[in-house]
Amino acid sequence: MAMLDFFGNAACNFMIYSSFFIFIVFLAFMRIMNMAAGKTCHAKLNKANFYFLLAYIAIGLTCLCRSFSWHLAAAFAGGIFLFITLQQIYFMALVGLAKKSVSVTIVEAAEDSNGIEENKLTEKFSGNADAVRLNRLEQMKFLGLATEQKGKYIITGRGKFFNALGNIILKIWGLERL
């Protein structure tokens, strides 16, 4: 079928199809091993996905070593792009939505046939705000954007750099943080 012959070359097409196939195998493996179960699954899923990416890279490099061409190298790069984006842009976005979305959790809390009072709903989730804040402070420490000393959070050089970079990009695009 012309529609599925992307590059007009069997070896180049193989690079894309093998990337897609290995991603499907990853999904099946993730499901069989119940990797999305439990409280924290993002790191587990990304780690497993990385090993499958390495498998794809090994296959791609073997093909490249056997018959190198720039077209094949470009198809290999396309295959890596496909594999990474299927995971990070599509699959992890769905996992995030199904697992962590605050809005979905709020809508679910009002599913009772009698509904729920707005105050009760707000009370139910107000404790979450402190937990989210503390979680994000831990994340800042983990990413090296801030350090903690005697209960005080101090911005690091890296934190200043990334903050300045983010602000410059927003300024160029004329956008403001919401």
Binding site: L4, A36, A98, K100, V107, R133
Partner: protein
């Protein structure tokens, strides 16, 4: 004669990058002219228009290539996700706040950015505005649209195997 055509992998990448770069340039101008309001809607609508233009041009040349469409669409989604995170991320807001306040703060001081009912109230307002919940006699009830959303999310959880959520 088929409207689909095979092209070399490097040409596919080049075409995608050209269309994506042109899209970013036009989107930059749109953002500068219209500001932050309805950023997501504008970005997605423009992305859709960009993809339709790409599809129309390929159909006109009888050379539709799915790899080119995938690369361009995914690059656009990645670009949108980058800006959505830059605009909404609680971590980045807290980092900016810390920097503006001299670089040293207690954990409690961050409650100005994300504390108490602040985050929940704004979410609740958006949920009601989008028709997932409605208010009746002081109580919030789930709408048909809200029920559809929760059913889809439950199905998604079952397919992926998510056991703990929220």
């Amino acid at each position: 004669m088929s409207i689909f055509a095979a092209i070399s992998p490097s040409k596919a990448m080049l075409i995608s990058v050209c269309w994506f770069s042109a899209g970013v340039m036009i989107h930059l101008i749109i953002c500068r002219l219209t500001g932050t309001q309805k950023y997501m809607v504008k970005g997605l609508a423009f992305g859709l228009l960009l993809m339709l233009c790409l599809l129309a041009s390929q159909a006109y040349l009888r050379s539709i290539n799915i790899a080119v469409l995938y690369y361009t669409f995914t690059l656009w989604l990645a670009y949108m996700m980058f800006f959505v995170n830059l605009l909404n991320s609680v971590t980045l807001k807290m980092l900016d706040f810390l920097n503006r306040k001299g670089g040293t703060l207690n954990a409690k001081d961050f409650s100005v950015i994300f504390g108490g009912n602040m985050g929940i109230n704004s979410r609740l307002k958006a949920i009601k505005r989008n028709g997932f919940l409605d208010e009746n006699a002081g109580r919030l009830h789930i709408t048909r649209k809200g029920k559809l959303l929760t059913s889809i999310i439950r199905l998604l959880r079952r397919v992926i195997g998510i056991t703990e959520a929220g």
